[in-house]
């Protein structure tokens, strides 16, 4: 098998697709109401910084995956334990996105179909994609991710006549605290979740472009997040937005004369699919590295099955899912997204790359 390589444009598309992920149906900054635009800008800046941190770690440890870096920098035993925690984190993240997908499809498009069937069939397709390799996933991203902003643009233009541009006022009615909380939420979901890419960055054919690629994709999400928010707030208003379950879906229902609802489904299929694939790939690859298995495809089926079961088991209902994502997820993610990566960066800067502590 030849050496796996992806181009910088493919990595950009994968990162952008991953970042769009569930954010095409959920609004992580909804807590800031009509000031969410500030939260998006602040969260985007913080998110870009986090992604730069991950890129820096990858550049200080060339041709190494997260597992290699952890074991080299933290020692074999501690590194292996932390790697197991990361494997759990990637599996958990894949399950959450699968559940978001299942809840959305079963609420809006296929209300009569059991959620386990929707999630299971989606996961089965994704296992084939993951088993085809990271190059195939990269090419798929290159082909499909451009559809996402196109769909966003179509919906924006279709609804422009119903926009009320005063919906952003008053500014900072509830102070700065909700804005900061929402900005932190956005940093952890979805920017911080790109820590999974530490299992993929090594495949970039031109490592010198890594930082540019991650910053460009963070910028792309910030810009599109801003566009989506402005579209929704101009059409629905902040009060209705804070009460709606799936805000972008509600916005599409207001387009007169034409049903563009499936376009939101398409966006979720593409971006959610990429996010789940990357997470399952990262988990399978990390587990195989730890266990000394050469081919990660041996375990993708079992891990995907576990993700499907976990996604059905993890929440009782959609309200529980939203509550957990808003109140628990940002704090649960801190060690995986901030503390351990910062520690890894410091350890990588302290020791010369390639110097083994053993």
């Amino acid at each position: 098998m030849g050496k796996v390589r992806i181009s910088s444009i493919q990595l950009f598309m994968l990162l952008s697709g991953f970042l769009f992920g569930s954010t095409v149906i959920l609004t992580p900054t909804s807590g800031a109401k009509n000031d969410a635009w500030m939260a998006i800008l602040l969260g985007g800046a913080g998110g870009a910084l986090l992604m730069w941190l991950y890129a820096k770690i990858a550049m200080l440890n060339p041709s190494k995956t997260l597992v290699d870096i952890l074991r080299e920098r933290m020692g074999k035993i501690v590194g292996s334990i932390v790697s197991v925690l990361y494997i759990w984190y990637f599996i958990h993240l894949a399950s959450l996105v699968l559940r978001n997908f299942g809840e959305f499809i079963c609420t809006t498009t296929l209300p009569e179909t059991p959620m386990a069937v929707v999630i299971g069939l989606f996961a089965a397709v994704l296992v084939f994609v993951i088993n085809s390799g990271i190059e195939v996933l990269g090419r798929l991203g290159e082909l499909l991710v451009p559809v996402v902003p196109l769909v966003i643009l179509i919906i924006c233009l279709s609804i422009i006549t119903a926009a009320d541009f005063e919906a952003l006022l008053p500014v900072m009615e509830n102070g700065i605290t909700p804005v900061l909380k929402a900005a932190f939420g956005l940093m952890t979901f979805p920017f911080g979740e790109t820590v999974a890419f530490l299992m993929l960055f090594q495949y970039l054919n031109n490592q010198a472009k890594l930082k540019k690629v991650v910053i460009a994709s963070a910028g792309a999400l910030t810009l599109s997040g801003l566009v989506i928010f402005l579209r929704d707030v101009f059409v629905l208003g902040s009060e209705l937005m804070s009460r709606a379950t799936f805000v972008p879906h509600l916005t599409t229902l207001l387009i007169p004369g034409v049903n563009v609802e499936p376009l939101v489904d398409i966006n979720l299929l593409i971006s959610g699919g990429i996010k789940i694939s990357v997470c399952i790939y990262a988990a399978a690859k990390a587990l195989c590295q730890l266990a000394g298995i050469d081919d990660y495809t041996r375990l993708t089926g079992a891990i995907a099955t576990f993700c499907v079961v976990l996604s059905v088991w993890i929440y009782e209902n959609v309200i529980d899912m939203f509550n957990w994502a808003e109140k628990v997820w940002p704090f649960y993610s801190i060690p995986f997204q901030i503390i351990i990566p910062v520690l890894l960066l410091l350890l990588s800067l302290r020791k010369k790359p390639g110097t083994s502590q053993n």
Binding site: A291, I293, L299, G301, A302, T305, F306, V309, W313
Partner: protein, 73 residues
Amino acid sequence: MTQMIKVLAVFVVLILYDLQRFIRKKEKGVVFVLYFLFMGVSLAVSMLLAAGVKLPSPARWIESTLRMIGVIK
């Protein structure tokens, strides 16, 4: 009961499909161990959920742990 049989049938198909691949390629023991660990846990949880047993989910465990150490109120 019907639900449990359906779940069991799906798992039997998945395991048989993977197992014949593993045997043909003479996989290492560790592959079997990890595979059956994931599939075993998945099957056990699915059967319990299909039987209507309310299991405390990992989301609740994580939430209680974070509450216990005072990270969330």
